[in-house]
Amino acid sequence: MYDHNNGQVVIVGGGIAGLATAKLLSENNFHFAIVERSYKLGGHTKDWACMATDNCNRCHSCAVFDYEEFVASSPHGEIFLRHELFSVTRSTSGISSVGIRCIDSGAERELPVTALVLAVGFEPFDPIEKGFWGYGTFEGVMTLSDLNRLMRLDDLNTIRPGNGDPLNLAFFQCVGSRDKTIGADYCSQYCCAAAIRAALRTIHQYPDSKVTIFYIDLQIAGKTAQALMDKAQEKGVRFLQGVPGEIQPIQDGGLQVISEKDGQNVVERFDRIVLSIGQRPSSSAIAISGITEAPLNEFGFFQTRSQFDPVRSPLNGVYIAGSCSGPANIPDVAMNAGKVVSAIIKDIEQTI
């Protein structure tokens, strides 16, 4: 049998997809090297707050800490922070080595490669692209990740009205998702459940808060979906179909929107509006695709061989992990890592 200790898998990206893949590789006696552009591991998940209320709401953001701890202490791996991929050397069966470079010092080194995993993640949609939501213009308009940051830093009190009134919060779903005009005609998968959890978390911390979720249709499924919806309804989260297309500032510092309710158009005031932003392809996807020649799909995510082979790039020896092949939530990314590692093992065993 093939001794996995002889192989080294290079993983581009140290977010949750890269970490989950590294953990599984390590458990299967592979050497791995993580090449990460930023100064820390964990990617976007690291910025996400725990959504537990009186019990766990299964946001799975804590998983990143377990992965990181395991990977950082693994004897099988090397971690290159502040490094980026700049070249690949091809062999007949795929890629034999990659060149990486330190972003700060410019120092270059060559890493031998048995398999190359691209796990460059996603880019949060920047709502400034769509000016009518007033993001960046009005203080009260924030994104779901801004809200998460506040929760993470325990700063949720900063968005409560100064006069002691209850916080009146609205979520707008599908911001930057299912949108042809920006080339993102797809569902971003994570946002409905994430918004509901954030609503519950807000109400848990400040039970007088009023939360409205404006949605197109709720794209949540799975065995935990109904429990989440039941809890949201029990806690008084209001769901309104239809997303207001515009936010107007009003004199008292609040924000006004128009929505349709029971066939009538209603004007409503909120203290804060949270835009549930979708996932766009990573800003480094184009560069990485250029270096490796791993092709991108129509949306700018990395292409995989088919729906039924969702982790192999059409390019031999290259595997696509996590949300760089399309929007995904944390549990999906973790499961996908298992598919990546089993594909790598299978391919290696077939070639020897």
Binding site: G134, Q241, G242, G245, S259, G263, Q264, N265
Partner: protein, 409 residues
């Protein structure tokens, strides 16, 4: 199930599909953004853009065809600006109007206007001779000012073959609002424009477009294009008009199925171009007031002219302020898309314009400018109705006030 009505809706859907080219209304995901961006939402609680799409899909388009809403709609297109599925509501509404018109349910005033266009070539019923006389008379009224710019500037050129610019006015300029025509004459004189009017085609507007009467709309465009070719113009210059300019600029090639070998420009674009080239010299800060700009839907959102007029206004005014929202998301004045011309709508267009009124008042501006005759009419009417403490002018009127006279050669 009533299969007859379903078949009907397929026809309507196909009409709309053909009109929009690629997208079909059944792609709508009912996100509802259009509802909150429509300034008619408050006035017509029973209907809104999203419901119109639903009704069409459910085979109930007759309810929409019979509704006042389609005639109150200004075709401003704001509801579906950045529609996630690229639906163009103004195209949908025009198609529905076309169906209403075919059923004899179009507003009478618009139908009369179209008859006049067919007979006289313009919607006011002024004939060629009368037009020439009126234009010359309006020029005479400001003869001294024009002659001061250069000797002979008060001669209005007609049918000059080989002139660089064919200028296409709005009938308001030779009927209700001759001041505008005078402002343009002064502009032409100052920049020593090589221009002409046509005595055959002298109406930039396109009322059949409003009615969804595509054949007549195309015929008008063809007549204008033929006249520009006949005179050998390099620039077909439109007045500060909304839909007329937008059609000539944006739809001509698709509608006629042929390319055109001249430029279609709005006079504000030409002014901006000449300003950049140094041919139009303006006095910086000449307008010692606070000025704001209303983006006309056709000039702004539909054609994409945002920065040119702003550059001019920022240069000539002491203080320039923006409304929110602006540019692509500008709120319609409430008078476009035939609503101002449609006597059946009465003064409702002013009641529908509250968003615009509040937006204007919030700026605190002394002068409100815009670059569309329709907007100017509506904003003027709003000003008197609501006593808005603001002066209303076209961008070109203000630009002409700020012109630095060229020293004579």
């Amino acid at each position: 199930m009533n299969s007859g009505s379903l078949a009907g809706s397929y026809e309507t859907m196909n009409l709309i599909k053909n009109a929009t080219g690629q997208n079909d209304v059944d792609i709508c995901v009912t996100c509802g953004q259009c509802v909150s961006r429509c300034f008619l939402s408050q006035s017509y609680p029973d209907i809104n853009p999203r419901k119109i799409i639903r009704k069409i899909l459910l085979g109930r388009e007759q309810e929409v065809i019979d509704s006042e809403f389609i005639w109150a709609c200004t075709l401003c297109g704001r509801c579906t600006t950045d529609c996630p599925k690229n639906i163009s509501m103004d195209v949908v509404i025009r198609r529905l109007r076309g169906l209403a018109w075919a059923q004899g349910k179009a507003p009478s005033r618009l139908c009369e206007g179209i008859e006049k266009i067919k007979e006289f070539g313009n919607n006011t019923g002024v004939d060629a001779e009368e037009f020439q006389e009126t234009a010359e008379w309006i020029a005479e009224e400001c003869e001294d000012e024009l002659q001061e710019i250069f000797e002979g500037a008060s001669n209005v050129p007609f049918d000059r073959k080989g002139a660089e610019i064919l200028y296409m006015p709005n009938p308001r300029e030779y009927t209700s609002n001759p001041n505008m025509f005078q402002a343009y004459l002064k502009f032409f004189a100052h920049v020593r424009a090589d221009w002409t009017l046509s005595s055959k085609v002298f109406d930039v507007t396109n009322w059949p477009y409003y009615l969804g009467d595509q054949d007549d709309a195309v015929a008008l465009v063809r007549a204008t294009v033929n006249e520009a070719r006949n005179l050998g113009a390099k620039i077909l210059l439109t007045t500060e008009c909304g839909h007329g300019f937008k059609i000539l600029r944006k739809d001509t090639q698709a509608w006629l199925g042929e390319s055109i070998d001249f430029e279609v420009l709005s006079i504000i674009e030409l002014a901006h171009r000449y300003f950049k080239e140094g041919r139009l010299r303006l006095r910086q800060g000449a307008i010692n007031k606070t000025v704001t700009y209303h983006d006309p839907c056709n000039v702004g959102r539909k054609v994409g002219i945002f920065e040119g007029p702003r550059e001019l206004l920022k240069f000539i005014s002491a203080n320039f302020v923006e409304m929110w929202p602006n540019r692509k998301y500008s709120i319609c004045c409430g008078g476009g898309g035939s609503v101002s011309q449609n006597s059946d709508m009465g003064s409702k267009r002013l009641e529908h314009a509250m968003w615009k009124r509040d937006q204007i008042l919030r700026t605190g501006a002394d002068i409100l400018t815009t670059s569309c005759q329709n907007c100017l009419t509506q904003l003027g009417d709003m000003q008197s109705r609501y006593n808005m403490p603001v002066e209303i002018k076209s961008v070109m009127e203000l630009v002409v006030e700020a012109i630095e006279p060229l020293s004579l050669p």
